[in-house]
């Protein structure tokens, strides 16, 4: 409606724009480095190799499933931490961040301790139901969810704390149970925070490597996701590894750019 010269709110302040641009450069220049050094001539060959396609598909599927698991479990957890009158919230909140700090390989080991064939829980799963999670695609999803969930929980919790609790009160006076108020009032109002958390979660799951290979192993078509493929390629052909990374990047940027704009412009 107005020409670009006419900004309702003055010029962007240098104190903010300068570090913002430096930050952007810091994040993007290494990617430019990758793009510059990538052996582009091998790209088509890599891109259309069936094993890469398979790994890419598996990565997207597993990361998305892991994100769904995280949403289903993580959003309520964030709500409990932000709103529930549970004792020891401070410590719980700190504990939730633990999988973040844990080196992923150790996280994978921890999962094996619990869900592995001889794990605390896994031995019963195996004995009673014949379910064995390691070395399966389900294992990949679990490992990714374990590593990525804290991102979602913490983002959503932050959003919940910033939200005005009086709207929930208003909903209560209209007869809404806490669940209804959460679903119909709180959740829509913190949607940007949930989207941010979901993006973090998905991206983290997509890039997850250490816990996945430790817990779920590496078998093409079943548990070999892109990061695993990249890592193995690094061993023999670093150039190919870079090309694979670039492919992973492009796909994820594409997915995120497409999805986020739709999510964000939708409800607000």
């Amino acid at each position: 409606m107005t020409s670009t010269r006419r900004r309702a709110r003055g010029r962007l302040p240098v104190v903010l724009v300068l570090p913002a641009v430096v930050g952007l450069a810091f994040l993007l220049v290494p990617l430019v480095g990758l793009l510059v050094r990538a052996p582009w001539d091998t790209l088509p060959e890599q891109l259309f190799s069936s094993s890469v396609g398979e790994a890419l598909r598996l990565s997207l599927v597993c990361a998305s499933l892991a994100t769904v698991v995280c949403l289903v479990l993580g959003v309520p957890l964030a709500w409990l931490l932000a709103r529930g009158d549970v004792p020891g919230r401070g410590v719980l909140r700190a504990l939730v961040t633990v999988p973040l700090v844990l080196p992923p390989v150790v996280g994978g080991v921890a999962l094996l301790f619990v869900l592995g064939r001889r794990g605390l829980v896994g031995q019963y799963l195996d004995a009673w139901f014949g379910i064995s999670l390691p070395f399966t695609t389900a294992g990949v999803v679990l490992a990714e969810a374990f590593v990525a969930m804290p991102f979602l929980v913490i983002s959503v919790e932050g959003a919940l704390r910033a939200a005005d609790p009086r709207y929930e009160e208003a909903a209560a006076t209209l007869g809404a149970s806490r669940w209804l108020a959460f679903r119909r009032v709180t959740l829509p109002s913190i949607l940007p925070g949930v989207v941010a958390g979901t993006v973090l979660c998905w991206a983290r799951a997509l890039g997850e490597f250490g816990a996945t290979i430790t817990f779920a192993g590496n078998f093409p078509g079943e548990t070999t996701t892109m990061p695993l493929a990249v890592y193995l390629a690094l061993e023999t052909d670093p150039d190919a590894a870079i090309v694979l990374s670039v492919v992973l990047l492009l796909v994820s940027v594409g997915v995120l750019a497409a999805l986020r704009d739709r999510w964000i412009s939708g409800p607000s």
């Binding site: 590496n218 093409p220 548990t223 890592y231 061993e235």
Partner: protein, 242 residues
């Protein structure tokens, strides 16, 4: 000082010129042995400091290619050394200072009753192998070819330690790992020798680097690794002599 012999006196000879810091990039599987050798070296050459950068051989090769400040590169696979050499990164020739070979590793008690490579074709047994892209995987492939067995692995790990972890935790019934790894795992993993292991020998090359800031120190350290004392330490960890 307890050591005696030509190699050691050779080291002492060079020791006169040795001073300052020696930076050694070494494969992660050498962590224990090289740490001990480094302490020995520092004791033998007062005033000298040995600094290690342990990591995956391929990552180390990448770092060297990008100008990392290294004097010595000890690789777990000749391929990574060749990579550095091709880029003109090493001065002189790389020499093999140790060898390693595969062994079958099974969890304590050997629950699946594994006896030889033939059991790796069993669909019911959980099997872990290294991926073909990494040296232990390539070696395993040679072994299976020699044995005429079609392995049916459940997972192809990115490095031998990951394989070993799964054996220790009993997640898999059998795996092929290096003898040194079985040795390091103590009593939790049982090693089973197999005849085709001859085909799986893997060489560990070491070389001074072209961009070394401490060329004399690099030479002296390599000599130290190849000395009798060095061989003894490596043998103790399960390495074969070259």
């Amino acid at each position: 000082g307890a050591d005696s012999g030509g190699a050691d006196s050779g080291g002492a000879e060079a020791g006169g010129a040795v001073a300052g810091k020696v930076t050694v990039f070494a494969a992660a599987s050498l962590t224990e042995t090289f740490t001990r050798l480094g302490e020995d070296f520092e004791a033998a050459h007062p005033g000298v400091e040995v600094v290690f950068n342990f990591g995956g051989s391929s990552a180390l090769a990448q770092q060297i290619a990008q100008g990392a400040p290294a004097d010595v590169f000890a690789s777990a696979a000749p391929a990574n050394m060749t990579q550095v050499g091709d880029a003109g990164g090493i001065s002189g020739e790389a020499v093999t200072f140790a060898r390693n070979r595969l062994e079958i590793a099974v969890p304590r008690g050997n629950p699946a009753g594994i006896t030889g490579l033939a059991d790796f074709g069993d669909a019911d047994a959980k099997i872990a192998l290294c991926a073909e892209q990494v040296p232990c995987g390539a070696a395993a492939k040679r072994a299976f070819e020699a044995a005429g067995v079609t392995a049916r692995p459940d997972t192809l790990e990115q490095d031998v330690k990951a394989v070993l972890t799964k054996v220790r935790l009993g997640e898999v019934d059998a795996a092929l790992v290096y003898r040194t790894d079985v040795r390091a795992a103590g009593g939790e993993v049982v090693g089973i020798e197999f005849p085709e292991a001859e085909r799986t020998v893997n060489d560990y090359p070491i070389a001074p680097l072209a961009k070394a800031r401490n060329a004399a120190g690099a030479r002296a350290f390599i000599d130290h690794v190849r000395s009798d004392r060095g061989r003894a330490v490596l043998a103790e960890a399960g390495f074969d002599a070259p």
